[in-house]
Symmetry: C2
Subunit: 438 residues, 2 copies
């Protein structure tokens, strides 16, 4: 570009429409605030705690996977080399280990051939949306508020999204039924609902067993696919572990997304989708939805990196394909953090006082997130004041709403702090709230 | 799915249209033949040779990258842990090493901020297409025949593709100019041309320096972006190394795709795109195209796996960011294979004899591929007979053509065989041709 006058400049308005969607930049202000106030305690990131990661163990996991290939599967050294270095099977090489883990941890009986091992759960969602949404009238339903990864993927693919309000038990079934009827009346086809039954991001909501069963009945009655995402299911705080929709599903309505980002580590970028629905062609032949996803994946990333699969595979092997047990220390850690936060808030803002101040919060049974309702608008201005004057950062819940929803709510994430930071962060947060004009 | 009658069955016709496109299944027959005749010598796969991979070195490369982080960049052990295990920068963590390598190997002076490190070159192509193609009238131009990865990605995104015939110097400039005029007359907007100047897949064609300069002039005159893909540039057989379009580009028309699949190893799935074009918003502010690609990537794979980046980063560090030198053994290997094949063919089918038989081939100056023209249709039937009766496999060139083109041509790939296999494969191939009715 030696000659400025002849330099090519692209017009933003001529790029794909998704790039101008505020949705795609929603986290930018949060990131900017975080970098401007590095000493603030941040309830922002949904990242897993790093204290449990050990760099030294990467080699051990790789070795465990190599031993598995040689000793359990009888692979020769040349075959091991091919598996680690060469292009590989589009749908992955650790699908049998993942299937075994799903059986042990979730009671989900998945044919390994129905699994696609993906570059994080994000790619699983992306390729599934691409495959399932064929007509311009196909609509994706999501809860409101909703995780940005799914709505962002839909936006990239020009897939229309409809929002269904979430109640304390998850998506409100009456509102869902109403939305389905409205969409159909408008000539649209509700194709699938994205749902996180366990400790949803951003609200922390968990569906009861009854709510899960009712949602499955509704999905069957309405011929609606359910895209179940389960990144936080291991991290229970109270009560019993509830079965996933996939484990309860008797009619094949559920496509199940899994992630190793929180249960192993995010840097591997390994997730998967169980896509065991038969797909029938016009000539009557059938194949699995996973086989269709394979075509999409081959044009997106070709295959999931072998090294990432090897390290995650090694972690599965080393833990006898039981990640729930292996995650007990992590679950304890997040449980402690949530309990510390709830205790601190309870002590500093006892019931009478918080009611008078117009402050409330939920008490999730697990996961990384808690929702707090404020008496004042929880906007970027308050966030900046909070970071600057009180040294505490959080996420405006409005970021996760498609419209004006969540204007007085915030998401508090507990996963990336120590218990001491959580306690100090709670103190600072209460300081902010007590100094905010109501 | 306990009750068969209530099992959800999806209709193939209701999935995304790309899944029914023959393009997406084109390699299936080849794969099937390969698995049915495992003892045949296959000129099919475009995979790099594996004999140069060493499993033991993965740990060394990881260590080299860790040392680079600590000793060169001054990272603390906690920061190293975060870089290897946690979610990371969307556009990658080895962008500065890649920029240094591009400067050393290609004379391309790329701002590291203009680089996006991707999950293989396939993701680079995919996210670039998504960002650049905004309107339904935007058309992607490709050579005919063309690499399936780019046309497949376009198909997933419902991007219209137009084909321009390739001559012996690459895309025919007159045909390109005509196609541009026709598209514009039809109300379309030719947005970009995908081009592989060095030893293209599938033909092996290499553009001369003059052809490169003329293409750049044409791109500027016609306001056409060039998407340059360069997986094979290091693997020269004869003649001098020619500059890439990106290195010659003085007006910013070239978006450059790179891949470490052939120069390091495919299993890492690491590629990149240099997207240094400024993008101007309506309010006059500018950012880099790479920043726009970041939004797309964050909704596709979030970030490229840290382990893959670390191992490739370690290979770059260990080779002083000079991959061209490091690839001399690989270049020698492929050069030998190409020379062996050309010598064998020349000896078994000397000029008079091949002309009489209606057989010809090109003699690429490098790369993995050679094009052969046959006197008979090079279809799946001939391929099956070739594998079954003669023990030799190749790829029908028609797989890479959008229409009826290439019906009498085959692609011979030399990258995945030893020289001995190449010689024996050539013998078998000539055996097939001498027994085929003309």
């Amino acid at each position: 570009m030696s000659d400025g006058s002849r330099t090519t400049v692209l017009a933003a308005g001529e790029l794909h429409g998704s790039l101008a969607d505020p949705l795609m930049e929603v986290m930018n202000f949060l990131n900017e605030i975080t970098s401007r106030y590095p000493r603030a305690i941040s309830f922002g990131p949904g990242r897993p705690y790093e204290g449990l990661f050990e760099v030294e163990r990467i080699g051990e996991y790789l070795d465990a996977y190599k031993r598995h290939l040689v000793e359990e599967l009888g692979r020769t050294p040349d075959e091991v080399r091919t598996l680690l270095f060469q292009y590989g099977r589009t749908n992955g090489q650790i699908h049998e280990l993942v299937a075994r883990t799903l059986r042990n941890d979730e009671g989900i009986d998945a044919d390994p051939e129905s699994l696609v091992v993906t570059v994080g759960c994000q790619e699983a969602m992306f390729i599934t949306l691409r495959a399932l949404f064929g007509a311009p009238s196909d609509v994706l339903l999501v809860a409101s508020p909703c995780y940005i990864g799914i709505t962002g993927a839909a936006r990239l693919l020009d897939i229309e999204t409809a929002y269904v309000p979430e109640g304390s038990d998850g998506v409100d079934p009456d509102a869902l039924r109403r939305t389905l009827a409205e969409l159909r009346a408008a000539g649209k086809r509700p194709r699938a609902l994205y749902v996180v039954p366990d400790f949803a991001n951003p609200t922390g909501t968990c569906m009861t067993l009854d709510a899960r069963e009712r949602l499955l009945e509704l999905a069957e009655a309405e011929d609606l696919l359910l895209l179940e995402d389960n990144p936080y299911g291991f991290f229970t705080r109270t009560g019993q572990v509830l079965p996933t929709l996939k484990a309860l599903d008797s009619t094949g309505k559920v496509v199940y997304f899994g992630s190793f980002a929180k249960t192993c580590f995010p840097g591997a970028r390994v997730g998967y989708v169980v896509a065991d629905q038969p797909v029938r062609a016009a000539d009557g032949t059938q194949r699995l939805l996973a086989d269709e996803l394979s075509k999409v994946k081959s044009m997106t990333t070709v295959n999931t990196p072998a090294l990432s699969q090897a390290v995650i595979g090694g972690m599965l092997v080393a833990n006898d394909c039981r990640l729930r047990d292996a995650n007990k220390p992590a679950a304890d850690f997040y449980r402690t953090n949530m309990t510390v936060l709830l205790d601190c808030l309870d002590r500093m803002l006892p019931p009478g006082r918080r009611e008078a101040a117009g402050i409330s919060w939920n008490a999730p049974d697990g996961g990384f997130f808690l929702t707090m309702t404020l008496p004042v608008p929880a906007d970027n201005e308050l966030l900046e004041r909070s970071a600057r004057d009180h040294g505490v950062i959080w996420t405006p819940m409005s970021y996760f709403h498609p419209d004006d929803g969540g204007s007085h709510q915030i998401r508090l994430s507990l996963s990336y702090l120590t218990p001491e930071q959580v306690a100090e962060g709670a103190r600072r947060l209460v300081g902010l709230l007590e100094r905010s004009p109501t």
